[in-house]
Symmetry: C4
Subunit: 247 residues, 4 copies
């Protein structure tokens, strides 16, 4: 049982690494099939093959799920962990659709959640340290990021309200404050669909202001994480350098 | 009175922090209601409930405003400070609408300005130092940012004028120089609504030039604040390091 | 004459600084009037006032131009310098339109070029050093920027050609290679107007690839200038630090 | 033969540099002609001239190709190298179209691949070291970039599936999961064509979330390469600085 635990849960041994890579390929293939199934023209032609493949992967993942429970040192802890829940959610819909009536068919897309299992890729060797370094840099900047997001959201609400007042009765799509806020986010993040766009001169002026603001604001989080990655520990080490004295 | 001052105006004591958090929640809730009120379908159904909630928050904020004035060490200074004005503006419209005729109803949206009170969030503990560090980095880079914005604006005016000359009589939306400048900002900040877009080959060529310029220009402010955050004090400390000599 | 030279050409003395600031305001005002003149509804109402203002600024700038020539130590050098040509171009069109027949009226927009004079703002005190530091950082990175721009342009040509082959006969706007390249630039710089967009699955896949590429590529110039600003002189100083030895 | 080898394959001698620059100009000119040929109105007017120019460049490049083979120290290695294949592909279509029937005419656009030869520009003197430094910085960050791209792609799949479920039957363009994923990439990279856009409140809310995520995520790769360029060798040298002790 210990040997199986090593293969299934760890990625340090060659066998464990091979298991994780094969599992990753199976996950990606099964997600690909769910995607292709959603394309109507492909579903009509290859619907049956997709069904067979789906059952193949469901049985495979069910076997793996049972193996994980029986190997795990603390089975309950695994079952209620993030990956445990995702593993269950990725096999449940197919079984439910087998026993349940036809009208539950549309639930099948929930299976796409099995892609979340692909996050296991971060367990692989050298990924791990990189991912954790990035996570550390983001974590160390969490207060700065909160300040940044708070500024963005307050700007979005004020700008959204302003454009609702100015353009509300112009038929240009600013029909309510939430709708205007959606436009403000679309504009500030420089996405710019164009389904809603100001038509009055004042509205256009305010839109130009928020665009330049959004275009400039991106510097803030960039600078934060940049500085954090370049100098782990931040201000302290820099201070240390600037105050060093050779006796 | 001193105790109340501590609770209301400061955020160092547990009671002061609790007060600020509760106030923040009340502000966000009251802003949420103003937003939902602006959605016509919701307003027709829940209009009365929204009215009750609005009065609840207005009375709450009025009590708080009176408490702030009576606690403040220098009441007048508070009344004419940024937060004092915002606090007044966030309760005034509801009271005015109560006494005033129906045609002032549309002024109600000004209440959304009470969101500005949410900036008080930056008073909370560890937010404060982060916010002030960001502010310092932006402030230290103010000359560079002015140079950057001046370059952007001059580019926008020249590009706007050029496209007004080229596309003005093509019916593609470049009907005046301000309109063309609006397009130039939309393009340079990479928002790109598509409501105005060049149709002549020369116009498209110039548009491509400004796009690549805008795409490249974002490096400038990013680099500035990045460098400023990584090395507080900038050139000096770096110079110090490169010229140090161990005796 | 020396005193006038100081006032007009330099910005170190109080009088010189005041002259530059006043000139800047006059330039911005006169450009504003040209902009407003291009809005048809405003031109019909205030056309005459705009004409008076235009003559006021033209005479002012003519006086200034003559003063600059008579004060300059080497008048010819000034006349053929960048600012000398711009100064002339900003007054010439109005005089030409005065003597020339009506059909030259449309040339009036060339006057907008007088905005180029606004670049004199960079002469003002502390702007100068900042602007020159930015210019130095950009200049030091010129080879890297060339490599970056060459990569972008080659990608645009290849992607443009590919989508012309794939979508050329789909009526989705990819009518020629230059047109497809215009689309590729619009997409890669994340502007995304939407006037041209792929409709075939293969076209959409290639578009997604170039989007992610463009979204990731922006890191390259950002990193370059960022690193250059943080460490003037670049690798050398860093090396120096890492190899220092205290005896 | 050694002298020719130096001229053709190397860029250190003046003659070798001149050869490379002239070749680059010929490549760019021939690509320009292929582009202009694809514009129908120009092709009808100057079709014959384009044909003559095409033959001129094909013969030129054929001579160069033969020269390269006869000069190369290991001809076979050159023929099967990246540049060898590109060099052949850039002359083959014209010769094939000469001998082959009319219906192969459309293959002519493959000639545009000869632009790939323009990558030879990176052989030129000072470009080389810059390009290799950038390549090194990107290479050193490859694990972090993989983590970043994996996060982006998983987000795109989950968001695409979510919007397919929510908006699938709203006629707003989310007709299949691959189509929704295309939309998610267009949105997350802040391109935002607007040909597909959510219409339901929930869809708009999720779209706003992915926009802010995409807008914030760009910080990650920027920070990575930025830090890598500023501190070649990364953590080690920094650590060295922070732990140095003067005896």
């Amino acid at each position: 049982r210990d040997r199986w635990y090593e293969i299934i849960f760890e990625a340090d041994t060659p066998a464990g690494k091979l298991f994780d890579v094969l599992l990753l390929i199976a996950i990606l293939l099964s997600v690909l099939i769910i995607m292709l199934e959603s394309v109507k023209s492909l579903d009509q032609e290859y619907g049956q093959q997709f069904g067979y493949a789906e059952w193949f992967f469901t049985i495979l993942f069910t076997v793996e799920y049972v193996a994980r429970i029986s190997c795990a040192r603390r089975p309950l802890q695994y079952v209620f962990s993030f990956y445990g829940v995702v593993d269950l959610l990725s096999i449940l819909p197919t079984w439910l659709m087998f026993f349940a009536p036809v009208e539950m068919q549309s639930l099948g897309v929930i299976r796409a959640l099995r892609l979340l299992r692909a996050f296991r890729i971060f367990k692989l060797a050298h990924m791990l340290s990189e991912a954790s370094e990035l996570r550390r840099a983001v974590w160390a900047s969490r207060s700065k990021i909160t300040v940044f997001l708070a500024t963005v959201l307050i700007t979005v609400v004020i700008e959204g309200t302003a454009l609702y007042l100015i353009e509300g009765d112009q038929g240009s799509g600013f029909t309510s404050i939430p709708q205007s806020m959606y436009w403000a986010i679309v504009t500030m993040t420089t996405v710019g669909y164009g389904d809603i766009a100001p038509v009055t001169p004042l509205g256009k002026f305010l839109a130009a202001v928020i665009m330049i603001l959004g275009y400039s604001l991106i510097i803030v989080p960039t600078g934060i994480v940049s500085a954090e990655l370049a100098h782990p520990g931040g201000k302290k080490s820099t201070h240390w350098v600037t105050t060093q004295v050779c006796p």
